[in-house]
């Protein structure tokens, strides 16, 4: 029971951290000069941008948290469930970065949410089929 609760906490954390970190990375990168787009200097400049640094720190926490999650659940379970992060990223892009998002894209977001909910009700690991998450 405790392991199951821990797994769900990890899933929520992994799902939310990624899109928020992506937002910070995109926000920071778009503030850099366009001329640097294919220049290696872009990455050096990016590393000292406060928004990019915040995004990187969040991604480090996300990475370590996800590694813990992968030790108790299959990759083929973790990936679909955390796919809702793609929807959250699209939402953040629209609301925070004021990007144009088409109706097709929103429809896709709904499909992803339904698919993630379906996967979440399936057994969590091949080796432990008797413990559905």
């Amino acid at each position: 029971m405790g392991g199951r609760r821990t797994a769900w906490r990890l899933i929520v954390l992994v799902t939310l951290l990624k899109p928020v970190s992506n937002l910070f990375l995109a926000w920071g990168m778009k503030e850099l000069p366009a001329a640097l787009a294919i220049n290696p200097l872009l990455f050096v400049r990016a590393m000292i941008d406060p928004l990019v640094i915040a995004g990187i720190l969040m991604q480090i926490v996300w990475l370590l948290t996800r590694m813990s999650l992968l030790s108790v659940a299959d990759l083929s379970f973790v990936l679909p469930v955390t796919a809702s992060g793609y929807v959250i990223s699209t939402f953040l892009g629209r609301v925070v970065l004021h990007e144009q998002v088409s109706e097709w894209r929103w429809l896709g977001a709904v499909l992803i949410s339904l698919g993630a909910a379906l996967v979440a009700s399936s057994p969590r690991a091949t080796a432990k089929p008797e413990q559905p998450l």
Partner: protein
């Protein structure tokens, strides 16, 4: 140029995920490891260190991609790695894909295709 960055994001992410999942699977019997234990595993197992390198490559490619493309394109498009990883998780890691999980994964993939339009 954006497809080049996207391909780099996807391929390196898939390699990193598979390496990481294979190694962490052996730790599953002891439950979810704490952060200190995770860091110790990275330092002592070369596949985990290699997976971190792969993810670093994917990360920098993503930075370049998100610099030239909208976030609402870059993130869903990079989810192309999802379909490849799920397939390889079954083929290489021997993970069992139940019918419900497979159906859900297909639905998610369909949604990602629409989001990326």
């Amino acid at each position: 140029m954006r497809w080049l960055w996207l391909a780099l994001v996807v391929v390196s992410a898939v390699a990193g995920d598979l390496l990481q999942s294979r190694e962490m699977k052996t730790e599953g019997d002891a439950g979810a490891p704490g952060m200190r234990r995770v860091l110790r595993l990275i330092a002592t197992r070369w596949p985990l260190a290699l997976s971190i390198l792969c993810m670093a490559v994917s990360f920098f490619a993503f930075l370049a991609l998100v610099r030239i493309e909208p976030l609402s394109f870059a993130v869903p498009a990079s989810a192309a790695s999802f379909a490849l990883e799920t397939l390889l998780a079954k083929l290489l890691l021997g993970e069992h894909l139940a019918a419900r999980r497979t159906a859900g994964a297909i639905l998610v993939c369909g949604g990602i295709v629409l989001v990326a339009r």
